[in-house]
């Protein structure tokens, strides 16, 4: 089948184009020197939990380790690691190519800009999920590993496997949500760090916001999905709001991410190559 025949079948053409762009982009997102700090964000908690598994158990219990992990996940992964990892990965999908003056090669290919934006997003998402969902799952296993058979029992015959699944899913959904937001900021702004800082402040103000505004954030839905609550998590002056049930939080996050992605794709269609400005 030649190019003209493929071009007459839009879905096949787009599938091939997405695959080709993924090939190029994954190389940059997963295996480049530029990604060194993302490796650190990812490997940091894995190393720490790995070290923890070497320390004698002492007085504490498996439940203690579970709660500690809940803290690591909600404070480190959701608020810092995944957030800043996604800033780095997704903001740069277009912006880094502007800085390196290579974006025009994509713009000079017969590819719909929407297909290009979605392909780049998918490449970023694959990289982010591999890094962060993988790291979160590995850390969960490592922090409890030194419990040996007790942990095995907890994992396979208790709530452990479900918890592991929820943490992994929540980390992946965080990548989906923050990824869409930071792809958009990368398309819209010359310096994506300023909007990233604004989003960071907004997400961290979440406990203090009124119920309605709380729902206009990603962290609110992600926290609703976390399987273990952190005791004493609520800071002074925090506003109590019922967590959103998973059946609503997951499709809600996916729909909002899809809308943000669609807007980013529409904006990418209007994007100009203006390296010197």
């Amino acid at each position: 089948m030649n190019w003209s025949q493929i071009a007459a079948m839009p879905w096949m053409l787009w599938r091939r184009q997405v695959a080709a762009i993924l090939r190029l982009e994954l190389k940059k997102s997963l295996f480049s020197k530029r990604a060194w700090w993302i490796y650190i964000l990812t490997l940091g908690p894995v190393l720490l939990t790995g070290l923890h598994s070497l320390i004698p158990r002492g007085e504490h219990t498996l439940a203690n380790d579970n709660t500690i992990y809940a803290g690591i996940f909600q404070v480190y992964y959701l608020r810092l690691g995944i957030f800043f990892g996604c800033v780095g990965i997704f903001s740069n999908l277009f912006r880094a190519e502007m800085l390196e003056r290579t974006l025009h090669y994509y713009f000079m290919s017969p590819v719909r800009r929407e297909v290009l934006a979605v392909s780049k997003y998918l490449a970023g998402l694959i990289a982010a999920v591999v890094f962060f969902a993988g790291s979160a799952a590995l850390s969960y296993i490592l922090i409890c590993l030194h419990w040996g058979p007790v942990f095995q029992q907890y994992l396979f015959h208790g709530p452990g496997l479900a918890q592991l699944g929820w943490y992994t899913l929540t980390a992946a959904l965080a990548c989906v949500g923050y990824g869409a937001v930071f792809l958009l900021t990368g398309v819209l702004y010359r310096n994506p760090m300023i909007p990233a800082a604004v989003v960071f402040v907004w997400e961290n103000l979440n406990p203090f916001l009124p119920s309605l505004l709380k729902k206009l954030s990603i962290i609110f839905y992600l926290k609703s999905l976390c399987p273990v609550e952190i005791p004493g998590d609520l800071p002074l002056l925090a506003v109590l709001t019922e967590p959103t049930p998973a059946w609503l939080a997951i499709p809600g996050l996916l729909i909002v991410s899809a809308l943000v992605l669609a807007y980013a794709a529409a904006k990418a269609r209007k994007l100009e190559v203006s390296y010197s400005e």
Binding site: W3, A20, R23, K28, S32, Y105, M108, P110, V111, S274
Partner: protein, 313 residues
């Protein structure tokens, strides 16, 4: 039915308050069209507008009926060799071409075939497996050219494509342009090397400060420059006698016998009358004329007359 063209209809582009190009009307036929003008005259802006990398502030552009804001259609027919000298990291010359042909949506075997064909056309097969980052300036220029032509486009837009090429590669590249022009492709070339442009162009577009100051076949453009007398070189056996006869005419501004004593350079405001008169002198005075040729209907002269700067040669 008339042939499709590249059309600019009252196109302007501003960068904030800075003028890129203003009120451009163009209708570009097939063949080699050269964009000529000094730095900052708007050549690259015009090419970027044509290829949809930037958008017009005003006006409409159509490339063989396709608006440039539809890259998914435009770049099936068009290829663009830009002036940007940067490449995606970590790719060899072959991988660079092959990867972006896959981005077009081609199957692997077709992408491989076209990548190899493009590499051969720009004589880069030997360096195909070396990283682009290790290429010389001339090789980078050639791989960019290969990327522009790899999918066999009908419209080729080439921004300073001869920059950095050695004389051999320059000659080969010019031969390629001539071949594409002869095949009926639309080849738009910007260059500041005027004598090369002059040799290959079917038509020229002269730009100055964002405005198109002249457009068309170079001889036609020259004849429109009424305020500059035409220069005509006559090689004959009696240049002195010819000069004395020509000086009797009002339209003859200057007649200068060349150092070798065998030719006369005449500046006239009415070339047609001069040719008629020349015929009469030949008949009446037995003048033996070896050659008669316009001496300033080249791009360089027209460039100097219209833009007022000495073109690079």
């Amino acid at each position: 039915m008339s042939e499709p063209r590249i059309l600019f209809d009252n196109v302007s582009r501003f960068y904030g308050e800075v003028l890129g190009v203003n009120r451009v009307h163009l209708s570009i036929p097939p063949g080699i069209t050269s964009l000529v003008g000094p730095n900052g005259s708007g050549k690259t802006t015009l090419m970027n507008l044509m290829m949809g990398l930037i958008r017009p502030s005003r006006g409409e552009i159509s490339i063989l009926g396709i608006p440039p804001d539809r890259p998914e259609e435009l770049f099936r027919k068009a290829g663009y060799c830009t002036q940007f000298d940067a490449f995606p990291r970590g790719l060899t010359g072959y991988e660079f071409l092959y990867s972006f042909l896959l981005v077009h949506g081609m199957v692997e075997s077709e992408a491989d075939k076209l990548a190899v064909e493009a590499l051969q056309r720009v004589s880069m097969m030997e360096a195909a497996d070396r990283p682009v980052a290790a290429y010389s300036k001339g090789m980078r220029q050639r791989i960019k050219l290969a990327q522009a032509i790899a999918h066999r486009p009908t419209v080729l837009v080439l921004d300073e494509p001869l920059n950095g090429l050695d004389p051999m590669a320059r000659a080969e590249t010019i031969a390629l342009f001539e071949q594409w022009g002869a095949e009926g492709k639309y080849v738009i070339v910007s260059s500041h090397i005027l004598h090369e442009v002059d040799r290959i162009s079917d038509q020229v577009i002269l730009l100055s400060h964002g405005y198109v100051v002249a457009e068309g076949q170079i001889q036609g453009v020259r004849s429109e420059v009424k305020d500059q007398p035409m220069q005509i070189l006559v090689r004959c056996n009696k240049p002195g006698m010819l000069a004395s006869r020509l000086f009797e005419q009002d339209h003859v501004v200057e007649a200068k016998v060349a150092g070798d004593g065998k030719s006369l350079l005449v500046r006239t405001r009415d070339a047609d009358s001069l040719y008629l008169l020349l015929n009469r002198i030949v008949m009446d005075n037995g003048l033996e004329v070896e050659a008669v040729a316009p001496a300033d209907d080249d791009v360089n002269s027209v460039y100097q007359y219209l833009i007022g700067e000495v073109g690079t040669t």
